[in-house]
């Protein structure tokens, strides 16, 4: 096999791991609260700026900056839920979508006001690894492993903790759960906090690979939502698998053509999938 194609395939899988976290977070919030956070990628951006600011400006060690980003974005997720989403829970779903779109502008503008439009780089790079002429970036590999650990932790949380089981139950049946003594409003807040924390984790993994700037959310926000929809909105496993599929499509697409065309192909593939399976690739 062509080592470059192999490299593109491997990079695609690594990219999928990075897509997977925001997809899981978005899916969790949608599955539980039934609202798409259109500003999800901007939450990730705030986390990236947080890590950058704490590490390069305040001189915190990187692991402490990472540890701070998670609760920061998680708190932002809770705030978003309490201030914007909760008052709109009874409104038409489209209003909720558009209100979070307003938050997208707010966060973008806020980032511009605070940090300016410069590209900010963390300047951390792990040495690349080589195996039979195939080069893999060490940073990407580390981020991939961390994404898998994050996804595993989420799975364990949903599977084994009381709150996690309540979250899954609410996602399954919104009407019956309150009768079982679960307060859905509290579960919504917890789901928003976990969704925010996943955005924070994604921010840590992205900030070591990409320079952060106020519009970075637009570069991976749309594809995140498309992956969610492709896997079936609210379907965690579907979204997780679709993230890798999309990663491989983008990566091999840019191997054969160029970056823009690879995204065109990925988005075109998304539209075809929606027409073929309107409830997602892995819908039952």
């Amino acid at each position: 096999m062509d080592p470059f194609l192999l490299e593109a395939l491997l990079n695609g899988i690594l990219l999928g791991g990075v897509f997977a976290l925001p997809v899981l977070g978005c899916n969790l919030v949608f599955g539980v609260v039934d609202v798409v956070w259109l500003c999800y990628a901007e939450l990730v951006m705030v986390g990236m700026y947080g890590v950058w600011f704490l590490h390069t400006q305040q001189g915190w060690p990187l692991y402490l900056a990472f540890a701070a980003a998670l609760p920061l974005v998680s708190a932002l997720g809770v705030l978003l839920h309490l201030l914007v989403v909760r008052p709109l829970l009874g409104a038409p779903p489209i209003n909720q979508l558009l209100a979070t779109g307003g938050v997208l502008f707010l966060l973008q503008g806020g980032a511009m006001l605070v940090f300016g439009t410069d590209f900010r780089s963390l300047g951390v790079e792990l040495p690349p690894m080589e195996w039979q002429d195939v080069f893999i970036s060490g940073t990407k590999l580390a981020a991939f492993c961390a994404a898998l650990v994050g996804a595993g932790a989420l799975w364990a949380f949903l599977k084994f903790t009381y709150v996690g089981i309540a979250i899954r139950a609410i996602a399954r049946d919104r009407e019956v759960m309150p009768l079982m003594g679960v307060d859905p409003r509290r579960v919504y807040v917890v789901a928003s906090a976990v969704g925010g924390a996943l955005a924070g984790l994604a921010a840590c993994l992205l900030v070591v690979q990409l320079d952060v700037h106020p519009f970075i959310g637009l570069s991976f926000g749309p594809i995140t939502f498309m992956i969610c929809v492709m896997g079936g909105l609210g379907n965690m496993l579907g979204g997780f698998l679709a993230a890798f599929l999309m990663g491989v499509i983008v990566s091999t697409g840019s191997f054969w053509w160029n970056t823009e065309m690879s995204y065109v192909i990925a988005f075109g593939f998304f539209i075809v999938v929606i027409f073929a399976r309107p409830r997602g690739l892995f819908a039952r």
């Binding site: 798409v36 914007v84 008052p87 709109l88 409104a91 038409p92 779903p93 489209i94 209003n95 979508l97 558009l98 209100a99 779109g101 307003g102 938050v103 997208l104 502008f105 707010l106 966060l107 973008q108 503008g109 806020g110 980032a111 511009m112 006001l113 605070v114 300016g116 439009t117 106020p214 637009l218 926000g221 749309p222 939502f225 498309m226 929809v229 909105l233 053509w257 160029n258 823009e260 065309m261 995204y263 065109v264 988005f267 075109g268 998304f270 539209i271 929606i274 027409f275 309107p278």
Partner: protein, 311 residues
């Protein structure tokens, strides 16, 4: 509503003759053209068909028009209708499978979002012709300004006014047609609407194509006015959400709502730009965002809807 519109149009028609400064003419032209796009969007938005990809239609129309002029020398007088036609064709190609396969709500919004991004990325990818992210300029023709549709601000003012009136007229006719009732019924309950004989797919498809055409007309004419095309400002998620913001702020359920919203948005942008200068470059989107959230929370029917209810 009609006498009010006639009075506004009469006043607007004489504004350029009164020696109005170019700056205000510029704001008026951009407001009117943005109002056209917002009115187009609201034609379907008010029936729950929320598109987050109207940038796809604007970008298609603007680039088809500009490329025909630059590469084939075809006058924008023909290029604009061809571009708008291309946008409507795109709307049909996208809308038919969506409505046929019942892609609704969030799914529809995200499919249209993908379409907007595809058009933006295609424009960037075809950089040999379109100039990619750097944008492109229609070839200047100082010796034949009419043929090239490159008028003074006064000329464009009347043109924008004409297109704006056209957009409102389409809204008015649509509002009085059976289609509007059918779409309202579909929005309430698609299955019930289908059961009383409403052709759900074709009703939705028709309004989508009209909406895309009107939005594309306003957007492409705006590009022709500015004589500059850029994929970020004509296609993709940014412009798509801006159109939506204008329509929501003004009120998407009344004829003049999106126009009021467009004036409001552009006035806001100018006040922030002049007031803060470039020192606070993010102030405009920040305030936009805050206002959009506040509007949806407290004034879901927009400025016009709020006052209409009071009366």
């Amino acid at each position: 509503m009609i006498p009010a519109v006639v009075a506004i149009v009469a006043v607007l028609a004489v504004v350029p003759l009164l020696g109005t400064p170019d700056y205000f003419l510029h704001l008026g032209i951009t407001s009117m053209l943005m109002a056209v796009s917002g009115t187009g969007w609201a034609m379907m938005g008010r029936f729950g068909l929320v598109s987050l990809g109207h940038g796809a239609f604007i970008g298609t129309a603007a680039y088809v028009m500009a490329l025909l002029w630059n590469e084939a020398g075809l006058t924008p007088w023909l290029g604009l209708p061809i571009g708008v036609g291309a946008a409507m064709l795109l709307a049909a190609l996208l809308g038919y499978p969506c409505f046929r396969l019942r892609v609704v709500g969030h799914y529809f919004a995200l499919v249209t979002l993908a379409a907007g991004e595809i058009v933006r990325l295609l424009i960037v990818a075809l950089r040999e012709h379109t100039g990619g992210s750097l944008g492109m300029t229609p070839r200047l023709a100082p010796d034949a300004p009419f043929l090239a549709m490159q008028f003074s601000k006064t000329g464009f003012w009347w043109m924008a006014l004409l297109v704006w009136v056209f957009g409102l007229a389409v809204w008015w006719m649509l509002d009085r047609s059976m289609s509007s009732k059918a779409l309202a019924a579909i929005n309430e309950d698609q299955d019930a609407a289908a059961s009383i004989g409403i052709q759900v797919t074709s009703e939705k498809l028709r309004v989508t194509i009209i909406s895309a055409g009107i939005a594309a007309l306003g957007g492409a004419l705006g590009a022709q006015y500015r004589l500059y095309l850029n994929p970020e400002s004509l296609a993709g998620i940014g412009i798509s959400l801006q159109i939506v913001f204008g329509a929501i702020a003004g009120g998407m359920y009344s004829m003049l709502g999106p126009s009021v919203g467009a004036v409001f948005t552009i006035a806001l942008e100018e006040v922030l730009r002049v007031g803060f200068g470039t020192a606070f470059i993010g102030a405009a989107p920040f305030v936009y965002g805050v206002l959009l959230v506040l509007f949806i929370l407290f004034l879901p029917r927009g400025i016009v809807g709020f006052f209409a209810k009071r009366r």
